[in-house]
């Protein structure tokens, strides 16, 4: 297991990072209903989880094997379910992204959540644990458990604290995800029925050795079973309709985590499980998946262009960006996969930031309509600066984080299929259009509405929430190798079956 030369934290650090938030959430139950104490406590807990999670990338290079910090204990003997956790260079950053965004979510919700404060922060922290668990599980059953566990707190956050049509949005979100994941469950149970194990590594080896009876006939259905669950989450083009509703109605913290982390559960799942377990089927089905991704990129961008609602615009831009991620994954090139993982992180930071900024504006004016604003740069110069910085990061300006991932994905897609690369590049251009046009309409020109003249600029708390976003966007853009050096080995391992596939095709 390679944990011999690790320090004493080695085997338990992953469980600590995963369960600190939920434990904190349960402790909040015991705190009397004094809102200030609850908020402070939630902030401390989420910061603690963040600090603990930093241990992971710092010590990632230690130990052998692809998965680090592994822990493998029997949970249930029959069926054979293990508490098996471990991370590689891909999941480690997603864990850190989650723990990075959660304290900011606590800060941004400080004043916007006035009612049922206790429940809000409990749900937020439980959601954080479930999200981290999704990225750290190596047992398919454990993975499914955390996957479903994200559903309830998120649906409740939308339904209890959202705006206008929150109930419709929450139910739609719940049902879409639930129906998708039922198919994944059936596929997981099939794999268990044939291999007698839920362990990702064991099943992966069994499939590669060809020792799973009936796999040849079933593999397409298994691939699709996992694919539907992940495609709903990403969301891939025809299954995206829940996303704008959920985003527009969700409270700010919900939107941040939804865009920042929940969508990445889908792309992470595609990469780890769909591609990892069924490389041959992934290869075979790549053409239509890439077409769907392209449609998502362009369609998302075009719909963003015409949105009158700021939050809906950012939501559709997510459809577009996540399309790029899927395109990168299914290009099966080193550059494409590295870029896909990098976009996952960069999008989490930049779009999380955009949703926070939109939320700050909503707190002041209680609307997301772009037409309600205009000329905001005059009364709110600091806010305008942060907004511009985040917009530029999101649209992929060189030296900021969006650029690296987009460039890598486009070059990967171009290697795989030049036409797809060119089409995807137009999507990047569109993203500059809709984001800058939105920025122009909100911030430039004269103040059109009298109320906007008196809007207060950012206060200290809001700045504390936005600075980390800006710093992260800049550092990731300037020194991407810090991230990519960890991502690349994991990507190479994921790509290993494809080089074999390709050589076999060439050999024939």
């Amino acid at each position: 297991m390679g944990s011999v030369n690790m320090d004493s934290l080695g085997p338990i650090i992953l469980s600590l990072v995963t369960f600190i938030p939920a434990a904190g959430g349960l402790l909040i139950l015991l705190i009397p209903r004094r809102d200030r104490d609850i908020k402070l406590f939630a902030l401390v807990i989420s910061l603690l989880a963040f600090v603990a999670s930093l241990h992971l990338p710092v010590h990632l290079h230690r130990g052998q094997g692809l998965f680090k910090f592994e822990i493998d204990k029997v949970w249930i003997t029959s069926p054979n379910i293990h508490y098996h956790m471990g991370i590689d260079g891909i999941s480690v950053w997603l864990v850190v992204l989650t723990t990075f965004l959660t304290p900011l979510c606590v800060l941004i919700s400080w004043h916007s959540i006035q009612e049922r404060v206790k429940e809000f922060f409990i749900l937020l922290l439980i959601l954080e644990t479930a999200l981290i668990g999704v990225f750290t599980s190596l047992d398919l059953f454990l993975f499914y458990f955390f996957w479903e566990a994200t559903l309830i707190p998120m649906a409740l956050l939308i339904g209890m604290y959202g705006h206008g049509r929150r109930i419709y949005a929450a139910v739609k979100f719940f049902l879409f995800t639930m129906i998708g994941s039922m198919f994944m469950l059936a596929a997981i149970v099939w794999l268990y029925a044939k291999t007698g194990s839920f362990d990702f590594v064991v099943i992966q080896n069994a499939i590669r050795n060809g020792s799973v009876p009936g796999f040849e006939q079933a593999s397409l259905w298994l691939f699709l079973g996992f694919f539907i669950a992940f495609a709903v989450k990403v969301p891939i083009f025809p299954l995206h309709t829940w996303l704008p509703d959920a985003h527009v109605e969700a409270p700010t913290a919900g939107s941040v985590l939804l865009a920042g982390v929940l969508l990445k559960m889908g792309t992470y799942g595609l990469l780890r499980f769909d591609v990892g377990l069924f490389p041959e089927q992934a290869h075979r089905n790549a053409p239509w998946v890439m077409v769907l991704a392209l449609i998502g990129i362009i369609y998302g961008a075009l719909v963003s262009l015409v949105q009158p609602n700021m939050k809906k615009l950012i939501a559709y831009s997510s459809v577009s960006h996540l399309g790029l991620v899927v395109l990168g994954i299914f290009s099966f090139t080193t550059a494409g996969l590295n870029g896909a993982v990098f976009i996952m992180l960069a999008h989490g930071v930049a779009t999380g930031g955009l949703f926070m900024l939109a939320g700050i504006l909503y707190e002041r004016r209680h609307t997301y309509e772009i037409a309600e604003f205009g000329g905001l740069a005059t009364p709110m110069p600091k806010y305008a600066t942060f907004f511009l910085f985040t917009v530029l990061a999101s649209l992929g300006l060189p030296l900021l984080n969006g650029f690296i991932g987009e460039f890598l994905v486009l070059s990967g897609a171009f290697q795989a299929r030049p036409t797809y690369g060119i089409l995807a590049a137009t999507g990047v251009i569109w993203s500059a259009c809709y984001l800058l046009w939105m920025y122009q309409r909100v911030f430039f020109g004269k103040v059109k509405h009298e109320v906007n003249n008196t809007l207060p600029d950012l206060n200290l708390r809001e700045k504390a929430a936005l600075w980390p976003i800006a710093v992260a966007a800049l550092v990731m853009g300037v020194a991407p190798l810090v991230w990519l050096s960890a991502i690349d080995p994991a990507v190479q391992a994921a790509l290993a079956p494809f080089t074999q596939l390709a050589s076999r095709v060439v050999g024939q």
């Binding site: 309830i152 339904g159 109930i167 929450a170 049902l175 059936a186 149970v189």
Partner: protein, 515 residues
């Protein structure tokens, strides 16, 4: 006349050599004896107490009775074997269902303490009937003689018919009782007819003898046996509310007292499933596969689709119980050994979550069961966070979300189905669970996302009901986090149950897999 005169000397000789059954035989029906004694005790003490004080005292006696019966079940488990000339058999299987059924009765009695007082229902008959009904359910699980099974079925049915009509001031309760009684007796007649035909086909009413007669000769199975299987399935299908014998369920559940519905939807159902397991798997009934396949598919689909549009929580849960019966039937189409243990686990998990859910509904319904519509639940999350949270937990279990017993129950059924190559049925199950999520979610949405309505009062949960709910929560959680022990036990006893017939039944099952 001649036959009688011929057999008379023999009969006399038998009577003369009649030996009382050995003491161990009585040990093998000890829980039934204990429950009967306590049932009579309740009935006797009832007139001695004045009505005001009797609720608490009688309830306590009944509760002690069930607890004593649980203890005696442990004792009974020490004496495996048959009793009363092969009428009753104590084995892992029957001990499992004894535990389950008696535990259900205990929790239902706990949750009735407050209810009877609020609804002003006489306690003596109520608790007595629950105890006697439990005797019938226990016997159903351990009887291996079809005639005794029938008698046990009637014991449990008759007490539930009466219990359903206990809200005498409410016409819907009387309607419920009458409807249940008329249709129920009709259905049991089918079962009896089936028993008669089995006797005709095999010359015996003993499960083991039937199994032997049906599958040892190697010759063709008589047509009569197929008809008998179908008829017995009609009778038992009524009891477990499988489509198309489900029509009574929503009306009866809507009218009957809420804690009784908690009992009805789990106890007699579990016992009927136990009988079904015996008849289908142990007796190795011929032609069962497609019968169950079709019924399971219809039951799941119809239950879920109808539940989508219900506005009365009791009716909604009635249709949900139909849907769950459908999921359970999927296990009956699987290979005997896998299917039996999955079905046993499912009945246990379903009992824990459904009795819990009805305990919450019972408490919330208030005087005269006024508050049972979905709208009444609006804003419960604000008014009573703990009650709403526990109800949400039960509903999540009914949906099948992980860390609840309901998830593993569905999971085992699904994996039993997939291991038996029932891909079609597995897909229907998966789609149905997705549909099912919606209507449970409607209740959760009501509780948490709507503004409370002022006029619905929420009284604090009294200690007994709280204890009942807590027990259900703990059991649901236990089955959801550490299902291993219960499943191992179920698998073990399932193995013992079907091992003697496994060889022949796997042969027939492999013939009958889906195209």
């Amino acid at each position: 006349m001649t036959t009688l005169s011929h057999s008379l000397p023999g009969l006399l000789a038998q009577v003369q050599t009649f030996m009382p059954p050995p003491g161990a035989d009585y040990m093998r029906i000890l829980p039934e004896l204990v429950l009967s004694i306590f049932g009579m005790l309740v009935m006797v003490i009832d007139p001695l107490l004045d009505e005001e004080n009797s609720h608490q005292a009688l309830g306590t006696i009944a509760l002690i009775g069930t607890l004593a019966a649980l203890g005696s079940t442990c004792w009974m488990a020490q004496y495996p074997g048959t009793a009363f000339s092969n009428m009753v058999r104590v084995e892992g299987f029957s001990v499992f269902f004894h535990f389950l059924v008696i535990a259900i009765a205990a929790v239902v009695i706990l949750s009735s303490f407050e209810y009877l007082k609020v609804q002003r229902i006489r306690a003596g008959e109520y608790y007595g009937l629950i105890l006697f009904g439990t005797v019938g359910m226990c016997l159903m699980s351990s009887a291996i003689e079809l005639v005794l099974i029938f008698i046990a079925l009637e014991i449990s049915s008759i007490s539930t018919y009466v219990l359903a009509g206990f809200r005498r001031r409410d016409a819907s309760s009387s309607e419920s009782s009458l409807k249940y009684f008329l249709l129920g007796s009709f259905a049991t007649a089918f079962f009896l007819y089936g028993v008669a035909l089995v006797f005709g086909a095999t010359g015996s009413t003993n499960i083991d003898a039937i199994s032997l007669a049906l599958h040892s000769g190697g010759g063709p199975v008589p047509v009569l046996a197929y008809v008998a299987t179908a008829l017995m399935f009609v009778g038992l299908g009524f009891k477990v509310a499988s489509v198309p014998f489900h029509v009574w369920t929503p009306d009866v559940y809507e009218g009957a007292p809420a804690p009784v519905v908690g009992l009805m939807s789990t106890g007699p159902k579990a016992a009927a499933f136990a009988v079904l397991l015996r008849v289908m798997f142990e007796a190795n009934a011929p032609g069962r596969f497609w019968l169950i396949w079709v019924s399971a598919a219809l039951t799941m689909t119809l239950g879920n689709v109808c539940a989508l549009v219900q506005n009365n929580v009791k009716r909604l849960l009635a249709y949900s119980s139909i849907a769950h019966a459908g999921y359970l039937l999927v296990a009956f189409a699987a290979r005997p050994e896998l299917g039996t243990s999955a079905a046993m686990f499912y009945t246990a998990a379903y009992a824990a979550m459904n009795v819990g859910a009805f305990a919450v509904v019972t408490h919330f319904a208030n005087v005269g069961e006024k508050y049972v519509t979905l709208e009444d639940y609006a804003g419960l999350g604000r008014k009573s966070p703990v009650l709403a949270a526990t109800f949400t937990f039960f509903l999540m279990s009914l949906i099948g979300i992980p860390i609840t017993g309901g998830f593993f129950a569905k999971f085992y059924v699904l994996s039993a189905a997939l291991k038996s190559n029932l891909v079609g049925l597995a897909i229907i199950l998966v789609l149905n669970s997705a549909v099912g999520a919606y209507y449970y979610l409607r209740i959760i949405v009501m509780m948490y996302m709507r503004e409370p309505r002022g006029e619905v009062p929420v009284t604090p949960v009294p200690a007994a009901a709280a204890l009942a709910i807590a027990v259900c929560v703990l059991l649901t959680l236990y089955l959801g986090v550490l299902p291993g022990r219960v499943l191992d036990y179920a698998a073990h006893s399932a193995h013992a149950l079907v091992s003697d017939t496994a060889a022949s039944s796997t042969a027939s099952a492999s013939l009958a897999t889906e195209p």
